[in-house]
Amino acid sequence: MKRGAATPLARRRVREAWALIAPMVLVLLCVAAWPLGRTIWLGFTDASLAGAGDAAFIGWENYYAVYGGQAFGVLVDPQWWRSVGNTLVFTVTSVSLETVLGVLVALVLHQRFPGRAWVRAAVLVPWAIPTVVSAKMWAWMLNDQFGVVNAALEGMGLIDAPLAWTADPLLSMIAVIGVDVWKTTPFMALLVLAALEMLPRDIYEAARVDGIHPVRVFFRVTLPLIRPALVVAIVFRTLDALRVFDLVYVLTANSPATMTMSVYARRELIDFQSAGSGSAAATLVFLVIALAAALILTAGRLREREAGS
């Protein structure tokens, strides 16, 4: 098929193509573009979700406003900034841990050993469990009085008194990160494993014949070869972690110590019934994630150019 050939047949093909694409585009305009636009607009109004018909435009007041020498708005709310900080801590820590553990698990699964198919299946289990369910399962295991985790730690003599995993500010953040790592490491491991399996085996043979230490082989040969797949997996996980909601909300509810940007925006919108400031916060969440995506894409392009020159 010649690109841009303007024969009548080619033009008909293009027309048909648009007709086939149109329903999909139309649906996405309705369920993605329109709601997003509406949210951004609501952020500039004093709307409440109960009676959104009589919303008035108030400019930037949901973001920042000064009345009688006092500043109001999402941008001066300390809890908003704490949520941003929590989200960043959560994202950086959990994605780093998932990457390291995912690569380790993938390396183990890449070996040949009896029962490998079963182990691979077992690794998929955390990924298959709905997030709400895994949050509840871990909430029970981490229960301060009756949880099996505290019982095990006490049994091993590691702690003297039960720990309040989901109440203590530091511990609850550790718990949220831990459960996320448990749940999403399989995704990372699977993608890395798929990349490992595409590598030619003879590289390893050659390295083994030369007597090179396996750790050296990993850092010099394997890691550079799987890097493209690893980068894609990390990007997916990072953008996913920045919008985390289910896990945090079910495990620690609206606790300020673990509140993420998404939990903050939902609380404003639903619990406080403030469609205006809630939508403003939601718009900020969108901007943060769009910014992260743009940064990642630009970094990728720059690196490609460096590698190309």
Binding site: M1, G4, V14, E16, A17, L20, I21, P23, M24, V27, L28, V31, A32, P35, L36, R38, T39, L42, L49, V105, V108, Q111, V119, A121, A122, V123, V125, A128, P130, V132, V133, K136, M137, W140, F146, G147, V148, A151, A152, W182, F187, L191, A194, F236, L239, F245, D246, V250, M261, S262, A265, R266, L269, I270, A275, S279, A282, T283, F286, I289
Partner: protein, 272 residues
């Protein structure tokens, strides 16, 4: 020898950490009363009381049917819309194709909370608040972008000779899709459809926001909202029983279709 023992230990550890928590949930779900509060690894006197209670105390069977109906509908809608679009996106080159694909992919990066208030108004204005079709509609934002993306990748892998004969015969695009593509594309449809099903089955934020009554809730919301006499007395046995009921079919599904799911995930991520 030490290396082999270490490797075996790593394998055992990986398996234990992966399936241990689900196993413990099963144990808990079989216990009631004081047995629940003594952390043991085996139920002393297993009982099915919790399972019966889950269905008696709330419309849990209804919640399961709701989840199946919404997820099934979403899969059907997504695949229908995506397969025709994927054919055009993979096979016809036209101006703006790359931009369109990029835009579609960027929708899958949307944080759900960013569309929450707009989606709420959309669903309410259509008169679909607190209804399953309304919920299904909102899920298309989550499933459609990646189904289009994945199916486009799969269609690209099909040799072009396959449809060229049909084009020569003057067959229209819908005939080509139906007669030429669907027969070879079904493994791709299975893996894409499964991933869409899982996304819709697990979704929580939209379901929590766009439904109101116990009868229209989906399973994740129903489980999250199981509560006891007070906030400090959660009925853990029941919560775990409900969790096991919805998780076991999901785990079996994933294990049976393991190969398809992995090929779908890697097509969506690695080759994309």
């Amino acid at each position: 020898m030490i290396a082999r023992a270490g490797f075996a230990l790593a394998v055992v550890l990986i398996v234990a950490v992966s399936i241990g928590p689900l196993g413990y949930a099963v144990v808990t779900s079989l216990e009631t009363g004081s047995a629940l509060f003594t952390p043991g690894l085996w139920p002393e006197t297993p009982t099915g009381t919790n399972y019966a209670a889950v269905f008696a105390e709330q419309p849990f069977a209804r919640n399961i049917l709701n989840s199946i109906a919404v997820a099934g509908g979403v899969v059907g809608m997504s695949l229908t819309l995506a397969v025709t679009a994927a054919f055009a996106l993979a096979r016809v080159s036209f101006r703006g194709r790359g931009l369109l694909l990029g835009t579609v992919l960027s929708v899958s990066m949307f944080p759900q909370v960013a569309v929450l208030s707009g989606m709420f108004l959309l669903i309410r204005s259509l008169g679909l608040y607190n209804s399953l079709p309304g919920l299904g509609l909102s899920y298309l934002m989550l499933t459609l972008p990646f189904t289009v993306w994945m199916l486009t990748t799969f269609v690209r892998q099909i040799p072009k000779e396959m449809e060229e004969a049909a084009i020569m015969d003057g067959a229209g695009p819908l005939t080509i899709i139906g007669r030429v593509f669907l027969p070879v594309l079904w493994p791709a449809l299975v893996s894409t459809g499964l991933l869409a099903f899982i996304v819709a089955w697990n979704e929580f934020l939209f379901a929590l926001t766009f439904t109101l009554t116990a009868e229209t809730r989906t399973v994740p919301v129903a489980i999250a909202l199981i509560s006891g006499a007070s906030a400090h007395e959660l009925p853990w046995g029941r919560i775990m029983a409900a969790s096991v009921i919805v998780t076991v079919p999901m785990v079996l599904l994933v294990l049976v279709f393991q190969r398809w799911i992995v090929s779908g995930l890697t097509a969506g991520a690695v080759k994309g």
